[in-house]
Symmetry: C3
Subunit: 377 residues, 3 copies
């Protein structure tokens, strides 16, 4: 469209912008992935009680959620996504509420996603974006920080590379906290956004009865023992075994021997919940049968991260099953080629977009404002 300039320009050509307008097409509801929130909205019957579970409740692990609570969250998220402008200018459900957005581990995407979700509902936020400027860096205990937060806001969103921090703070907190990624442990709202995307793609999966032939096969490229998004995704899928034909964990045998693929007990927990798990090292052989391909190249280890499975790289020319979708929690690395972006398999942009609405739904319920946006209450 037009020439870019590089960082050090000695004699840049004069831009050919005269009389040219830098225009863009406005964002329609279906731009990022062919999202169908309306269908999902009508598929799930509204119930208020399961959402009331979330009042007075921390969100540390996806494990504590009941399936019916999750489905009602997805319904509310679909309601928000179906009519994004309605709630901020009318019911303003979070008016007067303060979010403490505490990111001790660097993040733009998740921090801004929560901040945006909160603001879209009419709330205000106070932000910590850098560990170096905090009392924790000077030796203040997490419990004392939690005491402080109790006085300052109505909800905490925490990202910390120390996976125990969110547990330590939850002991002292008297306002709800959301785990927005604790080391390699969990990232529960990401898992919710993942399943929300799958249900927008196949709303029929949200029905009480799913016929066996409608069940989906999900390929997960990654290491469940070391990737928080994968750990949380498997746990949320284990709550809905009726939706899942099989989960195939795909890994690089040389980089991740099967013995270190799972934590002790992790597979057993999932299988006991009814999830069918299989392990594979052959992506190309699996792809033609996968309804959902989930890839995530980043595993956090302490304060840094390492990249797994760089022999797995999703490009446009692979043998995807027709109608199947590719998901990625983003930010991406080389494992997800940008040539996928205009493929019909690209639902990862829809996944990112839906995450904001999912978080809007969760936050609304956690601070006890669900009654302002529900029809049945």
């Amino acid at each position: 469209m037009r020439s870019r300039r590089t960082a050090v320009v000695t004699n840049p050509a004069v831009l050919d912008l005269e009389d040219e307008q830098m225009r863009f097409a406005p964002l329609g509801p279906d731009v990022y992935g062919r999202t169908q929130p309306q269908t999902l909205l009508t598929t799930i019957e509204e119930q208020a009680d399961p959402l009331l579970d979330l009042v007075g409740q921390h969100v540390v692990s996806i494990q504590t959620f009941r399936p019916q609570t999750l489905l009602q969250l997805f319904r509310l998220a679909a309601k928000y996504e179906s009519n994004p402008g309605r709630y901020i200018t009318h019911s303003v459900p979070l008016r007067g509420k303060i979010l403490i957005n505490a990111f001790y581990e660097p993040s733009t995407r998740t921090r801004l996603s929560f901040d945006s979700a909160w603001h879209r509902l009419g709330g205000t936020s106070i932000n910590i974006t850098d560990r170096a400027t905090t009392g924790i860096a000077k030796g203040e205990s997490l419990e004392d920080v939690a005491h402080m937060f109790n006085n300052y806001g109505d909800c905490v969103v925490l990202r910390e590379s120390d996976s125990g921090a969110v547990f330590a703070m939850s002991q002292t907190l008297r306002i709800p906290i959301i785990n927005a990624g604790n080391g390699i442990d969990e990232h529960p709202t990401q898992a919710m956004a993942d399943l929300f995307t799958i249900l927008k793609w196949r709303p029929a999966l949200a029905k009480q009865q799913v016929a066996p032939e409608q069940r989906i096969r999900i390929g997960v490229i990654g290491v469940p023992a070391r990737m928080r998004t994968v750990r949380s995704l498997l746990r949320i899928l284990a709550k809905f075994p009726q939706m899942v034909e099989e989960v195939v964990v795909i890994h690089a045998a040389d980089a991740n021997p099967e013995a270190s693929l799972f934590d002790p007990g992790q597979q057993e927990e999932l299988r006991e919940a009814g999830l069918k798990l299989r392990i594979s090292t052959d992506l190309l052989a699996e792809l033609p049968d996968l309804d959902v391909t989930y890839i995530n190249a980043i595993a956090w280890v302490g304060d840094s991260f390492e990249v797994h499975g760089d022999q797995f790289r999703l490009t446009k020319d692979l043998p995807y099953k027709p109608g199947s979708i590719v998901l990625h929690p983003l930010a991406r690395g080389a494992e997800l080629s940008t040539c996928m972006d205009d493929s019909p398999h690209n639902w990862y942009f829809s996944q990112a977009r839906g995450a904001v609405f999912l978080r809007m739904a969760l936050l609304t319920c956690m601070v006890d404002r669900a009654e302002r946006v529900m029809d049945v209450v």
Copy 2:
């Protein structure tokens, strides 16, 4: 309650969270310290005039405040604390006002406290959290920064390790500035929060006449010459000599020889105002007679800080006077044991909680919105 994970987890046990809810008890008005804002509220008669002093007024030192202005501020803070949810959803006194929250010295606690106070009253804020990203780091003068601030907001909160910065900026500012800690000099809103806590504990001290036997003895563990919170606390106490039987400054003789304990003239200023001062090095001998024990381990020296009095460590088993309270401006170090937290002497959490309401009161008056929240105007 549940196991914590540490930062580097190789084989974390699967969390035993199934069917378990991560629940918390909601925050009641009396959770942190047995606060009695209602009693204080009814003890002080409302007067509008002393608060009008604060319009068009910078807050650099506690020294410029009249006692009756401070009492009315405490009354308004008690009103806010008695009914925390009322003002943000109804009168919204700071609607349309912008706070410039300028923290050139790292701080989470004070920055978030001011930000929360402002947001609770319906205002919005713009934030500076890191000197490195500012014009000052590139050599811009404080006077020019103040000119800029005039255009951008309605009130400035400044923390700067250079104690002269707030004076320099106040020359140019045409919007009010609050000193939120200037090096080792002062921290006036902390002193207000300290005395507000004492008055919630003993509302009778706020009466015009205090019987001699009701006066309190206050032990201050610290170095008045080098701790801004101690300097400001002594100055605010000197405005109310009728409340104070005696102030005992307790210090470690080896670390802080008496000659360096006070600035030249500092003791004289306090004594001339009517404050009875005594110096001691024996904490254990003093404790049984202290109504209020104030400890603060951090002294700022330039851009860093040093710890004083580490031989003084408040634990649960010391001979506190029954019914007496312990205060600490937080964040704490080793000098205040966490074993104190569930002791009835713990009023430092109440002190931290009250600081938000005190700042709400001060900010309301400084931007000339007191009439929106007072009954008598």
Copy 3:
């Protein structure tokens, strides 16, 4: 007025603040430069159509603006400046809108200016203030960041030292982006604020017909090839040749040989648009004939900056033309003496103040809320 303290105070004198009030004079509309927004407001006839150009439009270069659109922007800015308190408490035109304030290059002044402008109209913002905490630092592509921004807000303000970043992001964005300084390339809203100031000083220049004797001579001290503010200023002046008698580019011949003063084609572009350009190295000889003296000492080169023309230093005793004005985009260095601040030639503070109102006007139009603040729509 009172003594300052320095950073390391060993024995600070007790402040003489007793009974003294730290008072300030409130900000009146005419404090910073003798601004005349009302006259400008009445000089330009209101038209809605040119502002509708800005809906669905990125602001990357000043080049894409039509003169009539700029004049209507100045009119709306003058309307805001004439009645600063009106819009935030009444029409609240940006209620429910979210600004993404993305500053990957350090800046306080511009970032806070946009943030303040947005908040004054009732919007909320989410902020990036530090490249180190972002996905871009971890290798995320600008296009992916733009995809993310689409989901999070209604408008992006970007500062990036890589001049191509704003072009790269504009390819993917479906919400409008404003270039708030891209390396040495452009800073279009600064140029708008510059011309807005000139028109407040001489509203007659905004008339359709400007008599030849009313045209102004503008001296620009700087290097057009290497200063984004100068580049953008010259481009906006070239849209209004009827206002300009002549532009004199004043430079230090030893530091900046004439061959490197302009980019290839830059002079030709300006001259073809009808702007009369002359080059000079003798500031003192030019000053008595200059109606506007524009100085700006900072040129960005990659991520750092270098200072030009330090032999040019504007002080109070130079032979300025009576009634002429001095402009500077600030922050200033030694090239603009503080002794100028109380000179009648000082319009740079007015320029800084007006920049907020100019940005308010631009932002209102870009997010399609102009109809809420215009009389004719």
